[in-house]
């Protein structure tokens, strides 16, 4: 009996030791810092490790135009056209009526949404601009890095141009904030809760982004879905037409350079707004008149298609 108990005790102790299960679980169906990026020799984090990881961010930037059409397209139309009385509000709901009867205040859900989404878009491209030169992938050429970065800057300027015209004072954010930890919370707090800048400062950043992007941005081509040099120039023309930085000479100069990039008006104006004969798709894409296109195809389930 004594040995019997002894063996039992040993058995039990082994059992107790065995039940200690592993607490290291990595995501099974999600990409995360486990699968993306790595730490460098000094322990600092490299967010994106390969060209392919950065490519997914770059493609994601263009997807922002299409996947989030509320602020880029629907709200933009409503805020501009309904307030200018070119159109009526389409419903009696509280989110839309204030644009019609000019009773807009800070509680409106449409402008709250747009504010957040524009800023989210800026943060997305800031991550590209900030990290693209840090990608330790030798196959990722400097030329390509510079081009993607230029496109991201044009994107950022485009968002800020919409924002500053809607709101006036906006936070101008060009850096990606650091991780929040217990140790640095005091320090990073202001970067997560940034104060607003003046329109003047916002326009200066827009001009800086666009002018610095032009040398590396892709040339205008038949593919109008790329943020090209011509897009940057036309945005500059728009920016310089605005009051805080108004300079009509520059407006004219940039407009001329856009024309010189090879754009011309189409002969048939209705071509721009028509469906094709069968009614299955729009009549034309990438016309000579268009500078930048966000293209939607049927079948995606998007509201716009």
């Amino acid at each position: 009996m004594r040995t019997n108990i002894l063996t039992k005790v040993i058995g039990i102790l082994m059992l107790l030791a065995l039940v200690s299960c592993s607490l290291d679980k990595d995501p099974v169906s999600e990409f995360s810092e486990v699968t993306l990026g790595r730490s460098d020799d000094s322990g600092d984090r490299i967010k994106f490790e390969t060209r392919s990881e950065m490519l997914s961010q770059y493609e994601g930037m263009y997807e922002l135009f299409r996947g989030r059409q509320e602020h880029w397209y629907l709200d933009y139309l409503m805020i501009t056209e309904v307030r200018s009385d070119n159109a009526y509000a389409g419903t009696v709901g509280a989110e839309v009526m204030p644009f019609e009867d000019n009773s807009l205040d800070g509680g409106n859900s449409v402008i709250t949404r747009d504010w957040n989404r524009y800023l989210e878009d800026i943060a997305y491209v800031n991550s590209i601009i900030e990290n693209i030169d840090l990608v330790p992938d030798p196959s990722f050429s400097d030329l390509e890095r510079a081009q993607w970065k230029a496109e991201a800057k044009i994107f950022r300027a485009m968002v800020m141009l919409d924002m500053v015209r809607f709101w006036g004072n906006i936070p101008v954010i060009t850096k990606e904030a650091e991780d929040i930890t217990a140790a640095n919370i005091e320090e990073v707090y202001p970067t997560y809760f940034p104060s607003q800048n003046t329109p003047q400062e916002a326009y200066q950043q827009i001009i800086k982004d666009l002018t610095s992007a032009i040398p590396d941005a892709p040339e205008a081509s038949q593919n109008k879905t790329i943020l090209s040099k011509a897009v940057a120039r036309s945005l500059l023309a728009k920016a310089y037409a605005e009051e805080p930085v108004r300079d009509y000479d520059k407006v004219i100069a940039y407009c001329d350079s856009v024309i010189n990039d090879g754009f011309s008006l189409v002969d048939d104006y209705s071509l721009l707004f028509r469906m094709n004969e069968a009614g299955t798709d729009i009549a034309a894409r990438n016309t000579s008149e268009s500078i930048f296109e966000i293209q939607f195809f049927t079948g995606s389930g998007n509201w716009v298609t």
Binding site: I12, L23, E30, S56, E63, N116, I173, T181, P194
Partner: protein, 995 residues
């Protein structure tokens, strides 16, 4: 037979069996003795098997058999001592008689009852912590589909709300308030030792006992998941010497508790003309449809459970199976469950006891579209919003629902119900536990168990491509989602106890490991040919969003407990626990949670010895910490990415792969949320156990509160982070009184009363300081709830309405900041959904075979934001309205509380109402047939009963029912009525039979 705690009873029975064998052997040697025989019965005249009959002053005796009969040889001058757990020990002199029958009286003493405290049990009088025991006696007679309903109104400090009346509605259970803002606030359920969060698989009939561990010191032993309290449920098991088959069945009907009348056609026309809308109804319309009639039904509810159990001194088993179906008062909704369970225990060696619990349950439910307006197919609101002139079917296209409301954007309730009529959510759950208990010595035992908790959910939906407008615009929709969850629990617990002189020690140490694997497949498709084939293969267009996902988590814990008892006077319990969770950052993964509690039994002190009327007086105190991480996502600390699919069918995308977009910020500090709780309590039992009082005061402080923080957009690639972000406190007082008013054998009257006060306050948030929740009506489109430090959770936020302006008929809103204009800055707190107190009172009266059980339950001082009224009394478009608006302002000078048609609607105090209520929660009348009558039929027990639930509710609330929350189990949002599935009342008739 009255159920008492089984564990002790079995032990006693076992030892009695062993003893009786010895007695039988020795009996032959005794001479000149009488053979005394007789029957022992309980108060209901039921035979009492297993009662012991001992000759006083000796160790000789026997126990009663299955029929309560005994036979013993005794000296004619001897005295027999009859005893049985839970009954008064009775001494009867033989006086030369050969037949002695006894009807035993129930003993009121509950101080020796065992209370399950987690990995063990103690006598009630030795409890040092705050534990509520929920009476399970009446459970089988109630039409309860979710076991948590059994707690409602029956335990102090525990708030139970059924947030809506849907048959498959989950219950909202809060033990001592809400501890976490957007983490999990549900208590941990421990069923037969297995921790879990969902108990909808469980049938109320299977339950033997239910205890709620409320304070940190008691809950600590389940520390890692116990911050919100622990509900310990023990299911039935077989009993020695009692082979029995029991059947419980009930059938009943459920109905709406309340109705809100819509306008008739004439009143509706008048409203439209008042509103000056561009809606002109044809003249030939008539009142033709009563939408209540078409939407609501008197529904059938049924429940049948059968069980068989038996046991001897070494082995016992319990097998049960059953079927429950509850139809909803709204036709398409229902809940249906098949349950099966087997418990088996066997002592295969003197030192080894093995057991198995296997439980399998298959349940299916369906709901309705609720929490939205009639413009988005909300069923409940469309019943009022649909004008009575409309028919159900389109007269020209008879396969479609009628849809012409002359420009008003609504669909009628029958169409809205039809939207979800083919949806089903089915869950199959298997819980299997194997356990072994090794007794090294009588005071040293090891219990090991392994549990598999596997649940498979299969949810399908189908929307007909023709009948409904939404179906037509999508050409029919179908979806099929399947998930499989496997949780394994490995427990090892070592128990040691030692007593000498006046000292008694109980030591417990153990480990517990839990691993979880979960996977899901989600598929949807559209473009169905017609409604005849509903599976996805019949859909032409497969959604690009289909996929499969999976995740894992694990928790590892080590724990120990030391209980010390000095002469039943001074009691001390110390707990220590270490928990590690895979969901937390590897550097901060382990949390250490100590707790301690002590009690002083004054009634055992010599100076109290003279005070007869006090049976027990005990002062308890405890302090402890518990951890929580249950609200977190499985990989919350990691920076994760959303996957966005590219449209591969587009030009240039033929070989595209997915795009990644950062979903959240990483948190290298993420650690346990800790709740520190202090508890002080008094237990008092007086007048020979007639009256029992329990009082508890507690202070709970949650620190490192886990939540998903929303940061301003723009600063980093994502703007949410899971953080230990805030602090919250709950302070409360709870009081419980249990009284045996009458205790005569033929007439008993027991009253139990409990009342709970809880004050909640969010005391700190570190980053974002304000959170808004609960947008209801799209027409108003404002948040109704605001959360910020310094306030209790769930405060309603909006404008103050100062009544109707008699001149203009407009609702007047207060310019709170007195800046001359009304704007969003004039919003303030306009209501608090947290009750001042909640209470429950149970009365049980037994007269001969009859018993009456009545539960009153209620809540006082809580507000409800009745957002449904925006839709039914808002008069903002051409929707039909409730009769409440007949009082609306119409001419200048009119004094009324109801503003004019087309008034300026805001989220305001106009829609905030007092939600206090007192409810006759349930009444049960049962009759227990006499045993003598039944035995001829071969039946051991027959008890028919009728139960009525939600029979009567006293409230000033104007909505359908004051027990409501469209946000269900939310920690942040409470008390919002927004097109919510209304509560129901029910009447059931049932019977308990035992063979």
């Amino acid at each position: 037979m009255k159920k008492k705690t089984k564990i002790l009873k079995q032990k006693i029975l076992c030892s009695l069996f062993l003893l009786s064998g010895f007695f039988l052997l020795t009996q032959g040697s005794l001479a000149q003795e009488l053979t005394v025989s007789g029957t022992v019965t309980d108060e209901q005249d039921m035979p009492l098997p297993g009662a012991s009959v001992i000759i006083k002053g000796t160790t000789m005796g026997t126990i009663t058999d299955m029929n309560g009969e005994y036979s013993i040889s005794a000296d004619p001058a001897a005295t027999l001592v009859f005893s049985f757990i839970g009954m008064k020990t009775t001494e009867i002199p033989v006086d030369g008689r050969t037949v002695i029958n006894l009807q035993m009286e129930e003993e009121l003493a509950t101080l020796d009852e065992l209370v399950v405290i987690g990995y063990g049990s103690v006598k009630k009088k030795d409890v040092t912590t705050s534990i509520s025991t929920v009476s399970t006696r009446e459970l089988e007679k109630k039409p309860i589909t979710n076991v948590a309903q059994a707690i409602q109104g029956r335990a102090a400090g525990v708030s139970v709300i059924k947030p809506n009346g849907a048959p498959d509605a989950g219950m909202v259970v809060r033990v001592r308030g809400t501890t976490s803002l957007n983490g999990n606030n549900d208590p941990l359920y421990v069923v037969d030792g297995v921790p879990m969060t969902d108990i909808s698989y469980l049938s109320a009939n299977e339950i033997e006992s239910m205890q709620i561990l409320k304070d940190a010191s008691s809950a600590a032993i389940y520390g890692s998941r116990a911050a919100n309290g622990v509900v310990i449920i023990t299911t039935k098991s077989g009993e020695s010497g009692e082979a029995k088959i029991t059947f419980n069945g009930h059938v009943g009907i459920t109905d709406l508790t309340n109705k809100i009348e819509p306008l008739n056609l004439e009143q509706y026309r008048e409203l439209l003309s008042d509103m000056e809308l561009n809606i002109s109804l044809p003249d030939n319309l008539t009142d033709q449809t009563d939408w209540y009639e078409e939407t609501y039904q008197t529904a059938l509810t049924q429940n049948y459970q059968i069980s068989a159990s038996n046991g001897d001194e070494k082995m016992n088993y319990y097998i049960t199976g059953g079927y429950t179906r509850e139809e909803g008062v709204i036709e398409v909704s229902f809940f249906e469950r098949y349950n099966f369970k087997a418990n088996l225990e066997n002592e295969i060696r003197p030192w080894l006891n093995v057991g198995a619990n296997v439980s399998y349950s298959d349940y299916t439910g369906n709901g309705i579209i609720s929490g939205t307006g009639a413009n988005r197919a909300g069923v409940v609101l469309s019943v009022i919003n649909t004008p009575t002139y409309a028919p159900i079917w389109d007269t020209e296209k008879p396969d479609r629902y009628y849809n012409n409301f002359y420009g008003v954007n609504i669909t009628h309730p029958v169409e809205n119900m039809s939207r979800s009529e083919d949806n089903r959510s089915n869950t199959q759950r298997l819980l299997a536990t194997g356990q072994a208990e090794i007794t090294f010595a009588s005071n040293l035992r090891l219990k090991s168990s392994i549990t598999l908790d596997r649940s498979y959910n299969h949810s399908v939906s189908f929307l007909d491509p023709v009948k409904t407008a939404w179906g037509r615009s999508n050409y029919g929709l179908g979806s099929d989602n399947r998930s499989l969850s496997t949780v394994m629990v490995y427990d090892n617990v070592l128990n040691y106890n030692k007593s000498f002189d006046n000292h008694s020690f109980d030591l417990m140490a153990g480990s517990s490991g839990t691993t979880s694997e979960w996977s899901q497949s989600y598929q949807s498709a559209s473009h169905y040919r017609d409604g005849s084939i509903k599976t996805l293969n019949a859909a032409n267009k497969i959604s690009p969003g289909n996929g499969t996902v999976a995740s894992e988590w694990a928790i590892m814990s080590w724990f120990g407990r030391l209980a010390y008892n000095f002469s039943d006077k001074y009691l001390l319990t110390l707990n220590m626990r270490a928990d590690g969770s895979s969901k937390l950052h590897p550097d901060h993964r382990w949390g250490y949670f100590p707790s301690a509690s002590a009690a002083w039994r004054l009634s055992s002190e010599p100076f109290m010895a003279g005070i007869d009327w006090i049976d027990d007086l005990k002062i308890r105190g405890g302090w402890g910490q518990t951890g929580n991480q249950s609200g977190l996502g499985d990989y919350a600390y990691l920076e994760r990415y959303n996957i966005i699919r590219q449209n591969w069918w587009e030009e240039g995308n033929q070989n595209a792969t997915v795009i990644l977009s950062q979903a959240n910020l990483r948190n290298t500090d993420l650690t346990w949320e800790t709740t520190t709780q202090t508890n002080v309590g008094v237990d008092l039992t007086i007048l020979r156990n007639r009256l029992t009082f329990m009082m508890d005061w507690y202070y709970k402080k949650t620190t490192d509160m886990l939540m998903t923080v929303d940061l301003p957009a723009g600063s980093a690639a994502a703007n949410t982070i899971s953080r230990n972000e805030g602090e919250m406190t709950n302070t409360g007082f709870e009081f419980m009184l249990s009284s045996h008013n009458f205790t005569r054998p033929n007439f008993r009257w027991d009253t139990d009363f409990n009342i709970s006060f809880n004050r909640n306050e969010l005391t700190a948030l570190e980053l974002t300081k304000v959170y808004n929740y609960a947008v209801t009506s799209e027409f108003v489109n404002e948040y109704a709830v605001r959360i910020e430090p310094g306030r209790p959770l769930g405060g309603f936020y909006g404008y103050i309405s100062d009544g109707v302006d008699p001149e203009t008929g407009e609702l007047m809103y207060r310019d709170v900041n007195e800046d001359g204009i009304l704007s969003t800055t004039d919003r303030t707190y306009i209501g608090d959904p947290n009750p001042d107190f909640t209470f429950g009172m149970t009365n049980t009266i037994t007269y001969k075979g009859f018993s009456l059980n009545l539960l009153l339950q209620g809540s006082y001082g809580n507000d409800i934001y009745n957002a449904s009224r925006i839709e039914t009394e808002g008069m903002y478009d051409g929707k039909n309205q409730s009769k409440a608006i007949l009082d609306r302002w119409r001419i200048p000078g009119q004094i009324t509380d109801t503003p004019k048609a087309g008034f300026d609607i805001k989220t305001s105090s106009y829609f905030v109402e007092d939600g206090s209520y007192l409810r006759v929660k349930d009444i049960t009348l049962a009759y227990e047939f006499k045993k003598a009558f039944l035995s001829r039929l071969g039946i051991a027990r027959l008890q028919p009963y009728v139960t009525a639930t939600n029979l009567l509710t006293l409230t000033n609330y104007s909505g359908m029912d004051p027990e409501v929350n469209q946000w269900g189990n939310s920690g942040a949002v409470q008390g919002i009525d927004w097109g919510t599935y209304p509560q129901t009342k029910s009447f059931v008739f049932g019977v308990n039979v035992e063979f």
